[in-house]
Amino acid sequence: MIQHPGVLALLLASGLVTLLVVAAAGLGWQILRHWDQHSGTESQLALERRTYLVSALLSLALGVQVLSLFLFIFTADGLHSQFVGAMCAAGSLAAAPYGYTTLLLKVGTCLLAGAWIVLHRADIRAYDCPLIRPKFGLLLGLAPLVLAETWFQTRYLTGLRADVMTSCCGSLFGQGREGIAAELAGLPPALMHPLFWGSLLAFAVAGGWFLRTRRGALAFSLLGLAFFVIALVALVSVFGLYIYELPTHHCPFCLLHREHGFVGYPLYATLLGGALTALGVGVLSPFRGRTSLASVLPAMQAKLAWTALGCAAVFTLIVGIWALVSPLRL
């Protein structure tokens, strides 16, 4: 294992998040079993207090997860020089098993934790805690995911071996190993362009429809999620090329470097933020019928929907402008 301070920080953060989420899940399980809104006994009051703790634990866990997502990518990027053929984080992630798995799991836990927070915020605005059961059900589902992420990340980080010289034998790593592919497969622009613009249109239309009529929340949410996934793929396959000014450079991580103006940050932030908010809209839609939520949910969903659409707009603006001003022509 590479004993880099960043690696140690990641392991620590991962352990911490696992602790927080497992503790929250344990409390959640108790709350699920004994919750009785109408009782005034001390045990019920104690359970109500526990919900504050669970929400605090999960808010911290979500914050840490989002930060650790970036930290993970940065550490992988910083370590790339330790592996022959690795030019950036993409190479480091391929240098040991489970690199990309960890990344996907991290994003997944971020999204789920975000969904929990959306549910929680809706729940506390209603006077009879209607979403207690769905909330803690989700939490019980989140816990194993977090455990899995920690396990995979630990396996990945401990599996990294730097390609360093040993004192007396040859050091021809270039020969022994084929260059680690720093490129992800890119889909052809002819396919991606219509897919991207089409899904953007569908998303915008669904958004307009939803905001006007307050119907079709689930469709909006699904279209939104689809758009952001397509946008990510499009970024790697097509838009990134304009930013790199190279028709073959399909790396998702080099965008975060200084030489490209750190443009990766706003792009990934809008993708993550947009996916989170679109998911939030969908997560709330099954509960439109509850009376206590009737006045709360539409406003919340509208706010989330605007944010999701805003993120999509910012993303499109950035890649669009870059594509126009870039000297590359595909």
Binding site: Q37, G40, E42, I124, A126, S292
Partner: protein, 239 residues
């Protein structure tokens, strides 16, 4: 205005045997009047006050509030009378903030900050505009003759002055109901009479007053419309 039906409050956490502070109280507190709860210490007066004032939830029984200002709960839970017993803490606190003003026996002022800050303190979590609140606080303090002490630290105040700060704080959100727990316990006769005069003014302004006291100056006062005697967690004389 406030209706209690078979309210019971039992404390069991951390105790060897559960202790029942309020054992089945059924009561109607009328609006716009001064009601006094009379009884020895341990009779459950303080607990009953905290139950009425939305500070605690009864172990069993129901409490209804009637005649609340409209739009108190924006989520459509508005019903008149409003049943508060199964509301979560968040909403209970909102109701309490807008409906009840408390004057505690020990005054419960935060030491180390000024008089003005103490009076403004209840409004911090609401995010209300600071300047508006400050203006209101100053008005209340001036009405109580405390204009000179606005920036003074509360540690230096006399008993009577501290109580007036506590009263100003209780009034900061302009609540329709004022609850006082043994207000004259730390005051001499003169100050006690002044306190009752103040209460008379509030009653004249249309507020509902609920005072727990075993001081004759309070429960024998001509201002008291209703005196309820309590013993061992139960009401001894019915209204």
């Amino acid at each position: 205005m406030i209706e209690l039906a078979q309210v019971v409050k039992t404390y069991s956490a951390g105790l060897a045997t559960p202790y029942t502070a309020v054992a089945g109280v059924t009561l109607d507190i009328p609006g716009g009047q001064l009601t006094v709860l009379k009884g020895p210490s341990g009779s459950g007066k303080t607990t009953l006050l905290s139950l009425i004032g939305c500070m605690a939830r009864p172990t069993s029984g129901r409490i209804h509030l009637r005649g609340l200002p409209p739009g108190l709960l924006p989520q459509g839970a508005d019903a008149d009378p409003l049943e508060i017993t199964s509301l979560p803490e968040r909403f209970l606190t909102t109701i309490r903030r807008r409906t009840f003003g408390f004057i505690f026996q020990q005054f419960n002022l935060v030491r180390g900050i000024s008089v003005l800050e103490n009076v403004m303190l209840p409004t911090y979590p609401t995010g209300e505009d600071r300047e508006t609140v400050e203006a209101r606080a100053v008005t209340r303090l001036e009405a109580l003759g405390m204009a000179r002490h606005l920036k003074a630290p509360v540690d230096r105040l006399s008993g009577g002055e501290a109580q007036r700060v506590a009263i100003a704080r209780a009034l900061i959100n302009d609540p329709p109901v004022i609850i006082a727990d043994e207000p004259t316990a730390h005051l001499d006769s003169r100050l006690s009479a002044e306190f009752m005069e103040l209460m008379g003014q509030f009653k004249g302004a249309g507020r509902t007053l609920l005072i727990a006291s075993h001081d004759p100056i309070v429960h024998d006062s001509p201002l008291a419309d209703l005196v309820i005697v309590m013993r061992d967690g139960q009401v001894v004389t019915a209204p």
